[in-house]
Point group: C2
């Protein structure tokens, strides 16, 4: 089966599981809590701003696909890993709900963010609800035939990921207003903020598929390198992406003064660093400032540098995957390689 | 051993476990994340507003005590349940950090709330960190000799509790601005917001202690009734508590127009309900309004009614406990009964 076929099958399973998880249970508590779940369902793209059923953009489902493909690649039955895949997707979406609150972002996937629509208090609490349900998802593994000790081990990896995620978010916030963030600091931050979950996704799939520790570790390294490629590509698109394709305004990460890798590279550059630091230390950017920053980043070779980093991370991920080939089932293994290329080369 | 002796022993274990959990691990990610943990440690009362070591008020530790006493009462070794007890205390404190954000509360335990001191974005993220660490705590159970299937079962009860907690918080927020909240709505709300965790605490302790399902269920019912008594007593103290003892300003729940049980009883009262509803629908209360509300609640007999409800819940909890007596170890069983009385009669 091709990536497209596997993806279609897996996404159908995943969607059904997510719908079960984000539906209120026959109430242990009496009054109606539908409004709490409606906030989560809105964020997932299932409800309109009027809370009518709708199919709005809902993200790429990269994390659950990595989990299910890795489970299949190590010879496991991917159907047994669907609850964990759903938990990974819910964790990702919980983090988006709270990031949008913490960053005061008004738009997500072309729609108002949850807090912008429902207010900060209810959206914060709905994020906590989704975080709880992400964990509850893993409790559905034993009913799929997963042994309790394996389910507990998957949850351990998941909880360690949650801790790393909040550490990464802390670092990202602590970089604001600082002009001395190093490239090493940056890689440490993204290892938590985006890398931890993308590393854990195939690792957890491999664990549920019954892989030995050294094999699931190798899937973790694959996911970590894929995560770097993914985030670095995101950084490039945030500056040089095509507005019509990304759906974000052009150079949006410059306008928001985000400390992404190309900017850090420019700030540390002998030739243009001093002028860039002056600009970044100053007031909010006007259009002319954005144009000047773009010119300085070009002069520093920041685009080329960042694209090289994407290339390095992609090769590292590919090598980790190739070393796993002898033990892998062919179709899902090939699909993982294809997914890596798609993510590293994407324009949206 | 008396309650005091058991409490002293258990609290020493608990404190050591909490300190381990809230210390950054040898960094998987390179940059320093100490500031993330400092927010959590400040909230726990371990750091001053200047982030110097201090011993500030840190709460009554009711939930971990219920867990450890129940574990001992069913004949288990309470030392094995310490990680779960720490997880329950961290979950409680996570919910306080986020509640303070959602309610815009400036003071907690006589000090600035975490968000008031560190800003909303960092405090929200620190709450998420504590929520993650609360789960990670349960992963320390197997090292204490707890079987993986029992640890997974304890986590299942814990995660169901997390979901109920967010539902209860949603209901509490949805009651704001409503004048038609019924007493039934109220009991449904507190069953989630405070009851779920207080019910799960002794249940999880019993499960880890090796209790049969019907026994751990009975501990759950004990905890649920104790939770009602606890919350109802809180409602009484929020209106009629002694400022010098509670540390809160007198009649603070009237001033904030909180829909606690005595107020709902007054709003539904034939004799005074109409005037109370007019007052609650109007602008913020001045001192004269507070005095008038207190007089109307007295006329309605709201204090007596609420105290009767505390009494009913206490008797229900006591009966649940008495039915467990034949199988219980004497000292921890007696300590649970004593803890119930202390909580139901407390003035702070």
């Amino acid at each position: 089966m091709s990536l497209a076929d596997l993806v279609a099958t897996y996404l159908a399973w995943l969607e059904a599981e997510l719908r079960v998880l984000l539906t209120p249970q026959p109430a242990l508590i009496q009054p109606a809590v539908g409004g709490h779940y409606a906030i989560m369902q809105y964020h997932m793209g299932w409800l309109s701003t009027d809370l009518e059923p709708v199919q709005a953009p809902s993200g790429k489902r990269v994390r659950p696909l990595l989990c299910l493909l890795a489970c299949a690649a190590v010879g496991g039955d991917p159907a047994t890993a669907v609850p964990a895949a759903a938990g990974l997707e819910l964790l990702h979406n919980f983090s988006l709900i709270h990031d949008d609150i913490e960053d005061a972002s008004l738009t997500r996937r072309h729609r108002p963010t949850a807090w912008a629509l429902f207010g900060m208090p209810r959206a914060c609490n709905a994020g906590d609800g989704m975080f709880s349900l992400a964990h509850a998802a893993f409790q559905r593994l034993p009913a799929q035939g997963v042994r309790p000790d394996i389910a507990l081990n998957a949850l351990r990896l998941f909880d360690e990921t949650c801790v790393r995620l909040t550490e990464g978010q802390y670092l990202d916030m602590s970089f604001e207003g600082r002009l001395d963030v190093s490239v090493e600091d940056y890689f440490g931050m993204i290892a938590g903020k985006t890398g931890a979950l993308l590393a854990a996704s195939p690792e957890i799939g491999a664990v549920i598929g019954g892989a030995a520790p050294e094999v699931s570790d190798a899937y973790r390294r694959f996911g970590a390198a894929l995560g770097r490629a993914f985030q670095l590509r995101d950084d490039i698109l945030g500056i040089w992406g095509d507005e019509a394709v990304t759906g974000k305004s052009a150079a949006s990460d410059i306008l928001s003064k985000k400390k992404s890798l190309p900017v850090l590279y420019g700030l540390a550059c002998q030739a243009v660093g001093a002028e860039l630091r002056r600009l970044y230390a100053g007031p909010e950017f006007a259009a002319a400032d954005v144009a000047r920053v773009l010119a300085l980043l070009d002069a520093a070779g920041a685009h080329t540098y960042a694209q090289e980093q994407v290339h390095h991370a992609t090769i590292e991920a590919r090598q980790a995957l190739d070393r796993l080939a002898p033990e892998s089932t062919a179709a899902p293994h090939a699909a993982l390689a294809e997914l890596l290329d798609v993510l590293a080369e994407r324009n949206e």
